[in-house]
């Protein structure tokens, strides 16, 4: 008969050094091993969907910046796609290229943050995090040059982007693309073969493919489980159909694969950005639309993009007024969290933090 060890229930979060925002997990442990997990959230709930119903279509854009504040560009893109679908508006080619380019830069930044924090969770004392942030900082610098803000960009508008890139943006981008492989290579050298990282992440937090699909997992987490599914390929929006890139996928769906897939995706994003630079056509950057949009009454649209965290969708319903009747946000972070319990039970406390980090959630997006 085994010793009856009383399970210990501990709150991990909301005030914990590494729960990626104000996520609270009620975790029950037996020794070090997790028996039960219950995520409790809502600490950052701002009611974005309700707020969107009281703002006009352009104003809602500023709310989308604050969903996944690590990847505002892709949020903007998803929202703009939905509104454009709603209005039936075409976007000029140059604007599409600019969107794809910024979205890919944003993806790089977001994946770097995810990778950096994953390693922080492994206990790497901020060194890889600092290297990741150094890289990301250069991208954010470009964003500042492009749209005046680093995080909450509000760059895109329904019908295009608000402004063309300034002249000195292009040399700066070229410079970044020149030094990016070295920065990324350094990170890979530091971590990809590091035995400690390998033993900590390999075969830990394994998410089998069928479970991943059943739990509606999307984005790098799904790809790490082995399905080459990427909305940029499956249902190309903007000009992704003109881009050459690969979809990195993992073998087992463990933490290492998720981490590795993100790093590989950064490389692919670099490819896309350089293709954008090459192909960038001249032309207008914004379809002329009134400042206050009035989509036809009863129209509805579901616009989605492959955000760094997964499939980000906006389901918009219009009633013909200046504000959306309903703006439902399909946030990948929330839905990827559904599988958390499946992933964590049976693993140890230390793995819990890493697995949580490898899902790469953003509380701004989970709670909305």
């Amino acid at each position: 008969m085994p010793i009856r060890t009383e399970p210990v229930t501990i709150n991990i979060g909301p005030q914990h050094p590494s729960t990626h925002g104000v996520l609270r997990l009620r975790v029950t442990f037996d020794g070090e091993v997790i028996v039960d997990v219950e995520p409790i959230f809502g600490y950052l709930h701002r009611g974005s969907e309700k707020l969107a119903e009281e703002r006009n279509y352009v104003q809602v854009l500023t709310l989308t910046d604050r969903l996944d504040y690590v990847a505002s560009m892709t949020n903007n893109q998803a929202y703009c796609l939905a509104v454009e679908k709603l209005m039936g508006v075409e976007v000029p080619e140059r604007a599409q290229y600019l969107r794809v380019m910024t979205a890919e830069l944003q993806r790089m930044a977001s994946h770097l943050v995810a990778a950096g924090f994953l390693l922080q969770d492994l206990g790497a004392l901020a060194t890889p995090l600092m290297y990741c942030f150094r890289f990301r900082e250069k991208i954010l610098d470009l964003f500042e040059m492009l749209c005046g803000a680093r995080i909450t960009v509000s760059y895109m508008r329904p019908g295009g982007v608000f402004a063309d890139a300034p002249e000195d943006f292009w040399p700066a981008l070229d410079r970044l693309m020149g030094e990016a492989p070295e920065l990324l290579g350094e990170l890979e050298q530091l971590l990809m073969e590091n035995e400690i990282v390998l033993v900590r992440t390999k075969n830990v937090g394994v998410l089998p493919l069928d479970t991943a699909i059943a739990y509606s997992i999307s984005g790098p987490v799904l790809r790490a489980s082995g399905l080459p599914w990427d909305w940029r390929k499956a249902d190309p929006y903007d000009v992704y159909d003109r881009m050459q890139f690969d979809i990195p996928i993992g073998d087992r769906g463990d933490n290492y694969d998720r981490f590795r897939v993100r790093i590989e995706e950064v490389k692919q994003s670099m490819r896309i950005v350089s293709q954008c630079i090459e192909q960038m056509p001249p032309g207008p950057i914004r379809t002329e639309l009134p400042f206050v949009l009035r989509p036809p009454a009863g129209a509805e649209a579901y616009g989605r993009v492959e955000a760094p965290k997964g499939e980000l969708g906006f389901y918009m319903v219009s009633d013909g007024s200046i504000a959306p009747y309903r703006c439902k946000i399909r946030s990948p972070s929330l839905i990827n969290l559904t599988v958390l319990k499946e992933l964590l039970v049976g693993w140890k406390l230390a793995d819990m933090i890493v697995t949580l980090g490898s899902i790469d959630i953003n509380m701004g997006e989970v709670d909305r």
């Binding site: 492994l122 790497a124 060194t127 530091l190 033993v199 900590r200 979809i247 990195p248 140890k348 230390a350």
Partner: protein
Amino acid sequence: MVPFLQDNVIYRGVYCWLGGNEGNAQWCGGDGLLPGGYEWVAYFVAGLTIMLILVNGALLGAAVFVWAERRLLARFQARRGPNRWGPWGILQPIADLVKLLIKEDIIPTAADRIAFTLVPIIMLMSLLLSLAVLPFARNTYLANLNIGVLYIVAVSSMTTIAIFMAGWASANKFAMFGAMRGVTMLISYEIPLILSLVGVVLIAGSMSLVSVVEAQYLPFILVQPLGALVFMLGISAELNRTPFDILEAESEIVAGYHTEYSGIKFALIQAAEMAGVLAASGFLATLFLGGWSGPFLSTQLGALWFLMKLSFFVFLFIWIRATFPRLRIDQIMAFAWKFLLPLAMINFLATAVQVYFFGFYHGDVPGEITRNEQWVMAAINVPLAVASIVAFGHFAREGIRVPAVRLESIVPIPRVAEVD
């Protein structure tokens, strides 16, 4: 005057200054301040001088180490680090200390007040006590015990109890987690730690640290590469340094066993930890890098050589901390029991056979391994170390395989023909 006092530079200085009476004239060269018969005062003052040096050295060293670690870590991370207080921010630890001193000292209601308060005292005490046998220059030490090596291990094992007390007394689950993890890890690493020193003792023929330094014709890091490696890893586990810092893993259990500590108690625990790194570097330098002996002028510049070697190890500790993530508890346990323990065993058995052989060769004058013999041992032991690390390495690398991420360019082709 006993021989042990004659050898000791500081004792001798203080003793001669204060109490050198006629009986000691032949090596003091004159009378001291005190009249005859008061040698015990001189003796006492001399002892206190060294204690003063040790205590202040440890605490100031901890302060400097905090600063150095923060600066160096910042540089490793492409940052700048603290640089506001004083030149290069050198006064930062003082500012921190003042802040912690005048910070409210909170003891949780649920805590066991006595045990809670005793923890920082015990931690600092065991650290300071372990310094007593450290020779930090030629013939400069508080005491040269015959059991020096074991004394260090024994005294520093009291830290384990302190950590456990901290976790238990805090009545905090994170602290308890940290304490249980910490104690389990510390005791697991103590065995390889003790075993790795057997080789040193075998060659030196004594457990006294002074004899160990004197026996090092070659730095023992060459003669005992495995021992040095195991000791280094073991001691960094004992010090809760990365990659073995599971007992205060901030990303998992907040601050581990000292989650509830604040104010001056926290400062003392930190001081004990930081000074612990210095002490450990000191022991590493003494046991494996020749301590105060240097290539030249080791009599005069002993303290300097010692300090340089110590700084080398301190830098190594900081470097490792800046680079590595932390291991998981089961991996840490497996590392201790399946990797370090056999390595320590191999080292100890190999050294025993070698020493026996050389002792046999010497005939009647055992215990003295000459320089050439140490070269021979180094030549044997370095390849042995590499071989055994490779051999036992695969026990520690269970589950590591080549990275496996494929690139797929195509989305799976739909089974139903697309309608476009």
